[in-house]
Amino acid sequence: MASEAHGAEEGGLVFHPMDQFIVKPLFGGDAIGMFTITNVTLWMALAVVAVVALMVFGTSSRKIVPGRGQSIAELAYGFVYKMVEDVAGKDAVKFFPYIMTLFMFIVFANFLGLLPMSFTTTSHFAVTVVLALLVFLTVTIVGFVKNGLGFLGLFWVSSAPLALRPILAIIELISYFVRPVSHSIRLAGNVMAGHAVIKVFAGFAAIAVVSPVSVVAITAMYGLEVLVAFIQAYVFTILTCVYLKDALHPSH
């Protein structure tokens, strides 16, 4: 960040790579209250529209031999369902709608964020921290409800030598509470960094000599971001499944 600022001062270029992440009220005014309709609201609403379009209107014909939209909806369903079943186990299937919600929201927010001039809701820690905390709380509550105090066995590595176990328990405990942090920063960090880099390259495109390189670099970064958009949604979802597995089957 510091180097970008320097570049702006020295070269006379205008770099505002982070401006795209600013939250603005949509209908004028400066104050952002709890219920103000902002660009966040708009792009989250668009994500909802996209999810409804794919999952509800795409499947409305209920064909035995699916069309394009229905195929994609079924693919998404099968992809997440199989992930939940394989990673978290058969008894985790009742959490499938919850995990599907997370996946669909993240994947559509990421891809909508790749549209030019759009706002990427998943680039904000406010969003990803809430998502990660929801997962963390769900997993912890489910763990204690299902296993009672047996859930604490997650931190007591019974396969290790007895002398090591207290130390391992502390490490496990720390790693458990670090989970929501890494879970949220991974998603927002990846998305934000990619978008910021594209903006920086776009700033360089103002210089005629380097603009071809810059345009090629933007194209390459965009391709990478398309991958990242899906992979980060996938990673977030599969980690949720892994945590859920720990909650349902805490023994190592």
């Binding site: 960040m1 952002i32 902002t38 966040v40 909802v48 409804v52 369903y77 499938f96 927002a188």
Partner: protein, 180 residues
């Protein structure tokens, strides 16, 4: 980084395009969290009430259709195998029947043939015997005639030569000659 972010958090309110991370402007977190929760709840209800049961039903229905179709195909295949077996059996039966008929006809013909042959043999034998008898008769008749002719001729020759023909002597001579 730390000072940078602190500065950003501080300045973001006054200068919208100030360098820094808008993500760390905590003043709008409430707004974002509120709208995020609304979004998640809406998506959750749309998915769990409408979309997911519908897709599950479609998938189950497809699975059912496929299973049924496979079962029907299996049934048809079994029927086809059955039909083929029946056909083969009929073929084998027909072939055996044909062979039996052929053998029967052959035996019949053979029997007829044997009977005819035997009859013909018998007829031929009878005819041969008859002919032999006739030949023997003819031969016997011929020998007698020859003897008569020879005796007469001899008598005539003897008398012609001026001798007196003794009938008995001539006949005896003819007999000896004919035997020799």
């Amino acid at each position: 980084m730390a000072t940078d972010t602190h500065a950003a958090a501080g300045h973001a309110a006054e200068a919208a395009s100030a360098p820094g991370m808008p993500q760390l402007d905590f003043s709008n977190w409430g707004n974002q969290i509120f709208w995020l929760l609304v979004t998640l709840v809406v998506i959750y209800f749309v998915l769990s009430r409408i979309a997911l049961p519908r897709i599950a039903a479609v998938l189950a229905e497809r699975q059912g259709t496929i299973t049924n179709d496979i079962a029907a195909a299996e049934e048809l295949k079994a029927k086809a195998a059955e039909a083929e077996e029946a056909y083969n059996k009929a073929l084998v039966d027909a072939r055996a029947e044909a062979q039996r008929i052929v053998a029967e006809a052959k035996a019949e013909i053979q029997a007829d043939l044997d009977a005819a042959t035997a009859k013909a043999d018998a007829e031929i034998a009878a005819k041969a015997a008859e002919s032999e008898k006739a030949i023997a008769e003819i031969r016997a008749g011929a020998i007698d005639s020859i003897r008569e002719v020879a005796a007469d001729t001899a008598k005539e020759i003897v008398s012609a030569l001026g001798g007196k023909a003794d009938a008995k002597a001539v006949e005896a001579a003819v007999d000896t000659r004919m035997k020799g």
